[in-house]
Amino acid sequence: MQSPSQSVKTKDLVAQGLWGNNPVFRQLLGICSTLAVTNLLMNTLVMGVGLIYVTAMSSLTVSLLRKVIPTRIRMMAQVLIIAAYVIILDLLLKRFAPDISDELGAYVGLIITNCIIMGRCEGFARSNTPWPSFVDGLAMGAGYTLVLLCIAFVRELLGAGTLFGVQVLGDWWTPWIIMVMPPAGFFMLAAFIWIVRGCWPPPEEAGAK
């Protein structure tokens, strides 16, 4: 049964993951995949859901095993656990959603290298109880997904004239091909972080002004 202090904590964890301690624009983690998959909204969505699943399950597992895994090999164990869940995700996609699996291609395997997952396992799950760790994993994954969807919205709209594959801008629009290429990922992400941190500075920065 959850005590009142625990349920407040759940709300806090969600708020932190989605906004206050957002893994992408506050912690600056998971940047590589942000650059790679945000050229199409559908790919971003599937990648995001996959990451939410892996982060939540890995955090939960690491938390459950935190007293069992010796400290000196904890990172090896974390990577092993993360890799296992990612491979399972890959197999399930290939079996039940082969078209989406084809769309994402190598990016699913690259989830293993996403710093957010290791970051949460090492920074939260190994020193917290299972339920908060699971929620933290879900929230951080969701925060990442939301940021990526915002960036992908702009990149796909301007780079291909479509949203989720549906043609939105008519023939009058000449697609900005650069939006679909990696450089656009760089400056779109930078612009996004700049705007968000400018309009909503984190408490330390606001206090310093």
Binding site: V68, I69, R95, P98, E103, L104, V180
Partner: protein
Amino acid sequence: MPASRKEQFRTVASVVAITAVFTALVATVQAFTRDGILANERLKEVRGAFDAFGIEYSRDMTSEQLETLAKERLKPKAFGGLKGFEVVDANRKRQGYIFPIAGPGFWGPISGYIALDTTGSRIVGISFVRHSETPGLGARITEDWFRRQFVGKTTEPPPGQARAIRFVQEGKPKGPNDVDAITGATGTSRGVEKFLNDNLARIRAAMTR
């Protein structure tokens, strides 16, 4: 501080145990999904061959229905060492040919099918089934606009040209056997141009023997 014998043993034992557990988990999922994944792969190949020629099928068809259709319409035929298919209609009349094509793309191997008319001198269609190209860039080879370009092209190089099909920059004036490359996907375009022409040369040589 060096670890004691007992700590060392515990560390090694933990690694072995964790590895065993999670490897077993992945192996179990793999065992359950293996047949389904192989079936999906086979279906992709069959659909790819149909797409190349333009044989109509419904996305809702079951694998049995697709296999039956494949047995009716595609007759395996070997031209010397080259294996292909004769396409026949409901009355067993020859409509054309389908050959598998493959070669290196930018990130990895690309494979698909090319469909020719009954004389073997004109392309009826093309499909790309397996590739690891960048989504939104090289992966656009699977899009309709790209594949449609090859319809009607000859398999013989036009007079004065070394290669049968030439890839030119989008927007540039095109000769009778030229197609648009994909802007922003130079590596993929060059790879496809090379292996497509190599495959066509081999097919021509095998069919005229």
